[in-house]
Amino acid sequence: MSTEDTFDLDTAWGLTAQVSVRPERFGALLYHFGTRRLSFLKSPVLLEVLTGLAGAPTARDACTRAGVAAAELPAYRTALASLAASDMIRERS
């Protein structure tokens, strides 16, 4: 389990296999078929970060590619940490 303090931006992450993503005007809906939990992504940029995770060497890299500025990085780190805590994303080995 990852928390805000321990979420590592410099490791590789990816969407959990049991999670489905449905893009919406406000961002996206995420549904985890294992935990049966629904989450809301409240920004299209965050959606881009998320879909870019699998192809990026680190979460930080995925953020940069999605156009997240350095000043915004802490906010995105927080968002990713909460997605990791609810098992929507997992660390890739």
């Binding site: 449905r22 919406e24 078929f33 409240k42």
Partner: protein, 388 residues
């Protein structure tokens, strides 16, 4: 725009939807919101149901809440559940437990994409069976035992809160804990046969207050399906979206394919179309006039000047409609008492039109339905298969 506002204006596809597969039921619960009992000869066939699933998959509807009637008495029920999960549409089905045998429980526990919800309306047989019929408590408890023994963790125990069971909330939680299940409490609606018993069954004002405090104490540990958002007018909002999702983020597909704004609103007034029409379900969801209307800004009417309106948003549309109250006024169970005062002025109430109640009343009836649908409504005797 805040997320909740986005939802008020509707989404391209529902977040989840309720799909009632049959009006047939082995029970005759006095408060049945869909007046279920006998199968309707026009119910969707297996092939038609699969076409609906295909459409839901295309629309990326993550999961459906399957109900009825008692959905598991459909002979193709398990086939349809498998078809849905194979097509990335998760299933949570509501059942009174009649078909949850040890073997079935083992098969359910082995899979990931199916969740089970057992209905229970009393923590004791006495309270439960008065509403759901003799023997129904034992059926539900046996199903829970089977699921727990099979290792199915986290299934749901779903309770409609009534005046008779409002004092049993801790006992319900103990039952859920005993079986490793999660408790879900929902609101009694005056829909279907619920209209006949609402006056005697709906919680008193004091019980509502106690329920609200209890729910706040238990937080996300107890599910509510966003059922009690009208109680947000007491102050703090309960967990959930706290909005009426009818036609905006939820809807109902009934056994004959009719699409209604919500499961509690089976009435022509809230009928948006039928999945058998051109364009199927997607077209109904995206282009029905009724849904467009529900997604447009709503007026609070008589409630606009109330300090609590921002919290409760006027409450439940179906509860107002079936108690004869105007839709742009207070909920019949408005915590400020505005609804109760208005109720005394109502002389005529609308009723849910489809009524599939058993003509022989009370108590479980042995329902089995064949693979073949009756050709015409009049071909199906209500006493068919009862052996008397």
């Amino acid at each position: 725009m805040k997320l909740v506002e986005q939802f008020q204006y509707g989404l391209d596809a529902p977040i989840c939807l309720t799909w009632e597969l049959t009006y047939a039921c082995n029970l005759s619960c006095v408060h049945c919101l869909s007046s279920s009992g006998r199968r309707d000869p026009r119910e969707l066939s297996t092939v038609e149901c699969k076409a609906v699933v295909d459409e839901l998959e295309r629309m990326q509807v993550f999961y459906v809440n399957i109900g009825g009637g008692e959905p598991t008495v459909r002979p193709d029920f398990w086939e349809l559940v498998d078809y849905a999960t194979d097509h990335h549409v998760g299933v949570k089905f509501s059942t009174n437990g009649i078909k949850i045998t040890p073997e079935r429980a083992r098969r359910l526990a082995a899979g990931d994409y199916v969740d089970v919800q057992i209905s229970l309306d009393g923590a004791t047989a006495e309270v439960n069976d008065a509403v759901r019929g003799p023997g129904s408590y034992a059926i539900a408890l046996r199903a829970m035992e089977n699921l727990a023994a099979a290792g199915f963790a986290g299934f749901k125990v779903s309770v409609v809160v009534t005046r008779q069971n409002a004092g049993q909330l801790d006992d319900f939680l103990a039952i859920a804990d005993r079986y490793g299940a999660q408790l879900r409490l929902t609101r009694l609606r005056p829909s279907g046969r619920g209209a006949d018993v609402w006056d005697e069954l709906h919680p008193t004002a004091a019980q509502q207050r106690a329920l609200y405090d209890w729910l706040l104490d238990h937080g996300e540990r107890v599910l509510t399906g966003d059922s009690f958002f009208h109680l947000a007018a007491y102050g703090e909002a309960l967990p959930g979206l706290n909005l009426c999702g009818a036609g905006r983020v939820v809807c109902l597909i009934d056994p004959v394919g009719d699409v209604y704004a919500c499961p509690f609103a089976i009435h022509d007034e809230f009928l948006a179309g039928n999945v058998r029409g051109d364009g199927g379900f997607a077209r109904v969801w995206r282009s029905s006039e009724l849904f467009a209307d529900l997604r447009s800004p709503q007026t609070g009417g008589a409630c606009t000047s109330c300090s609590a309106y921002d919290s409760c948003r006027g409450g439940c549309m179906a509860a107002k409609f079936f108690t004869g109250l105007p839709l742009d006024g207070p909920d019949p169970e408005c915590v400020k008492g505005h609804g109760e005062r208005l109720l005394s002025t109502v002389d005529e109430k609308p009723r849910s039109a489809p009524d599939h109640s058993h003509r022989r009343t009370r108590g479980p009836v042995p329902v089995t339905i064949g693979m073949r649908r009756p050709d015409r409504a009049c071909d199906e005797s209500p006493l068919a298969g009862l052996g008397r």
